[in-house]
């Protein structure tokens, strides 16, 4: 009897297990991603809510695409940039076949302190499951920066600039007829910088009988420069030392560049890199016979290039405008604070922590060194017009860090362009804005 009882119990367990597996399988296969199509519209298209806004609002439209009722709910969760939940809401939904569900989710702005937030919409029905998220900011211009500028910051950089001054630039300009075009002359450029390292780049100059304003484009992290042409401006692009044509000292790679000689602020790669970029401005100003108008220089860059552009604009008042396109490596303390709670942890936090661990360098010591190089420390030195483009969903170029920087810039003409829903880049409209901004700043014809 006992034996039989065990057998029956075992059979029962197997049956239950099979039922559970079958139910799970049915449930899994019952989820049809096409059963609902959705549209979400933010009350503020750029995701930035200011003092005039009383609410943060999203309008959600769900369309039931199948011939069956859909019942479920939308769970709303708002988390701050440290990952702490600050608002929750649960909305039941019932959508008849081929019908539309329309709902405004709104949050009282007064309940949200200045800062950045992520709002998640978990949409679940008997046929559908989807998670959508958006990032928004509440009065980000009121966020207080967290940067720590070293006391000897000015002396440190004065020394670096003196060292650069003592290096003979030995400019070399070679016209490249093989890649020049009907409209533009292309030149390969070379000059000497700190450590007598040859830095090279490309200059494209429109063929016309007048001086050309210059768009000075600095390199993104671990990228190589190539000639870029416009018909209304000269474009000067530069290879960072260790990359592309500036690798006489030996090629550096994606993994090693950021931490090269990080153990010493006097030898750290970015000390030299910043000086290389400043020498680029010297090159423009010393070579106006190439039809360059040294009184109209815009410096720009994407990612790391944006941070380099900020440094150049801070150091050099010959720059008439600066454009930062999704700056990265900026306000590293904030980047660590908000990045470490994310999954996955965004670049370059992991790389820097690995370096610190391997070299027995505490994070505090890293920050003490980085503070000399963080563009945040340079922000108050920028006096020229500035345009910053941010993508709210970017984790490697966090908008929080860009805003912290932006809030410290003292220029009377400063603008920030926010794209709310672009995970991989920035909206094309930014580049139209940027182009118009350049024309406005340099008084070029529209």
């Amino acid at each position: 009897m006992l034996h039989t009882g065990r057998f029956h119990f075992s059979m029962f367990l197997r049956a239950v297990l099979c039922c559970v597996l079958l139910a799970a399988t049915l449930f899994t296969f019952a989820q049809d991603p096409t059963s609902i199509s959705y549209k979400v519209k933010s009350y503020r298209e750029n995701g930035i809510y200011g003092p005039r806004d009383s609410k943060v609002a999203y309008i959600i439209k769900l369309k039931n695409n199948i011939n069956d009722n859909q019942k479920g709910d939308i769970k709303v969760n708002v988390v701050n940039d440290l990952g702490i939940s600050v608002y929750n809401e649960d909305e039941p939904i019932f959508i008849k076949p081929e019908s539309i569900y329309d709902k405004e989710i709104s949050i009282d702005v007064a309940k949200l302190p200045s800062g950045f937030y992520t709002i998640y919409f978990y949409i679940t029905t008997n046929h559908y499951s989807q998670t959508i998220y958006y990032v928004f900011a509440v009065e980000p211009d009121k966020i207080k920066p967290t940067g720590v500028r070293p006391l000897d910051f000015t002396t440190f950089w004065d020394n670096a600039r003196n060292e650069l001054t003592n290096i003979n630039p030995s400019y070399k300009v070679t016209r490249r007829g093989d890649i020049s075009t009907i409209t533009n002359d292309i030149y390969s450029i070379e000059f000497q910088s700190i450590g007598n390292v040859a830095i090279r780049g490309w200059l494209s100059v429109p063929k016309r009988h007048k001086k050309n304003p210059v768009l000075y484009t600095l390199p993104d992290y671990a990228t190589t420069a190539s000639p870029e042409s416009r018909t209304d401006m000269a474009v000067f692009t530069l290879d960072a030392r260790g990359f592309g044509n500036s690798a006489d000292m030996g090629k550096l790679d994606y993994g090693s560049y950021l931490t090269k000689d990080l153990y010493s602020r006097d030898k750290y790669i970015y000390r030299e890199e910043y000086m290389d970029c400043i020498r680029g401005i010297d090159f423009i100003c010393k070579n106006t016979d190439l039809n360059l108008d040294a009184t109209r220089i815009i410096v720009t860059g994407i990612g790391q290039g944006a941070s380099l552009a900020a440094i150049v604009a801070a150091f050099d008042n010959r720059v008439k405008g600066v454009i930062l396109d999704r700056p990265t490596l900026m306000d590293m303390r904030t980047m660590f604070a908000i990045g470490e709670v994310k999954n996955p942890v965004p670049w370059p936090i992991g790389e820097l922590k690995s370096y610190c661990n391997a070299n027995r360098m505490g994070l505090d010591n890293f920050f003490k060194t980085w503070d000399y190089f963080d563009p945040l420390s340079f922000a108050p030195m920028i006096k020229c017009p500035i345009l910053v483009g941010i993508s709210l969903k970017s984790s490697t170029s966090p908008p929080q860090c860009a805003y912290n920087f932006y809030n410290q810039v003292l220029s009377s003409k400063r603008e920030i362009y926010s794209c709310a829903d672009n995970e991989t880049g920035i909206d094309a409209s930014f580049y139209i804005f940027e182009n118009n901004w350049i024309k406005e700043t340099l008084r070029l014809p529209f």
């Binding site: 409209t183 018909t231 804005f433």
Partner: protein, 278 residues
């Protein structure tokens, strides 16, 4: 009638060349001095039948000084100051008569609804028409309706990037009201398309039309003395070619002709203008 039509059309021609539907730019000036010559050899009657003048021609010389200033990225101030010479060159067979002087000045504001990052623009322009002259008694030609007026127009403009040499379009649809007892009220439209041929040369074509409504019963077939109409329609085509001199200056030349009308003169002419930006 003939002079009135002439006056209005000349203004339109200048505006179109300057790409009125595009913002001037914050803190920028745009000036457009220009000259139009107009020659009419006959008129359309109310039914649209063409009748040559029995004698002579009607000529007009229009020197316009248009421009604008960008008050902000969205708001432009616009103005037009014309000088006109209207010559009735013996069209009635009773002699030639000339009137010359300032015409109808225009002051206006143009607001752009679209953002700074837009390739296409939508604008609303409101203008005040101010007569700067006093017409001479018949049989001398008139310089305008000698009446204050107002104008409201909606503009759509834009340019394509990446297409064939970045073509652009510029459309305006509006209403003009003269504050005289019999108006007129005029509905007008201008549609322009342009394309750069290279870095220096540009061409554009414009189709424009005016529908003028009034309680006035004067027609082109009336022969007693000198008169002008307020009830008329016409469609005009224009072709312009422009040469970029430098970033700030371009010059334009063009031909235009009335291609359809009723109760107005039929003419054609040439235009010359410069667009100066600073």
């Amino acid at each position: 009638m003939k002079k009135i039509t002439l006056l209005l059309v000349a203004t339109v021609a200048f505006v179109q060349i300057t790409r009125a539907g595009f913002p001037i730019g914050y803190g920028r000036w745009q000036l457009t001095p220009g000259y139009n010559f107009y020659l009419a050899r006959g008129t359309w009657d109310k039914s649209g039948n063409y009748n040559s003048y029995s004698n002579g021609t009607f000529n007009s010389h229009y020197i316009g000084f248009s421009g604008g200033y960008g008050l902000s990225r969205r708001l432009d101030f616009l103005f037009t100051l014309p000088i006109e010479v209207q010559l009735d060159n013996n069209t009635s067979g009773k002699g030639s008569y000339l009137a010359a002087g300032l015409g109808d000045a225009k002051l206006g504001l143009s607001y752009f609804f679209t953002d700074f990052d837009a390739l296409n623009h939508v604008s609303l322009t409101g203008s005040l028409i101010i007569p700067l002259y006093k017409n001479q008694p018949k049989p001398y030609p008139v310089l305008g309706y000698q009446s204050f007026g107002g104008e409201l127009k909606l503009g759509f403009s834009g340019s394509a990037t990446g297409g064939f040499r970045n073509p652009y379009y510029d459309m305006e649809f509006g209403v003009r009201q003269y504050f005289d007892s019999d108006g007129p009220t005029q509905l007008f439209a201008n549609i322009t398309g342009g394309v750069p041929l290279d870095d220096y040369w540009k061409i554009s074509g414009t189709l424009s039309g005016v529908n003028s409504l009034s309680t006035s019963t004067i027609t082109t077939t009336q022969t007693s003395g000198y008169n002008f109409t307020k009830n008329f329609d016409y469609v005009r085509s224009a072709f312009n070619i422009g040469r970029v001199i430098n970033d700030n200056v371009s010059i334009w030349g063009g031909l235009y002709a009335d291609i359809w009308g009723s109760n107005c003169a039929r003419g054609s002419g040439v235009s010359l203008s410069a667009v100066i930006k600073f």
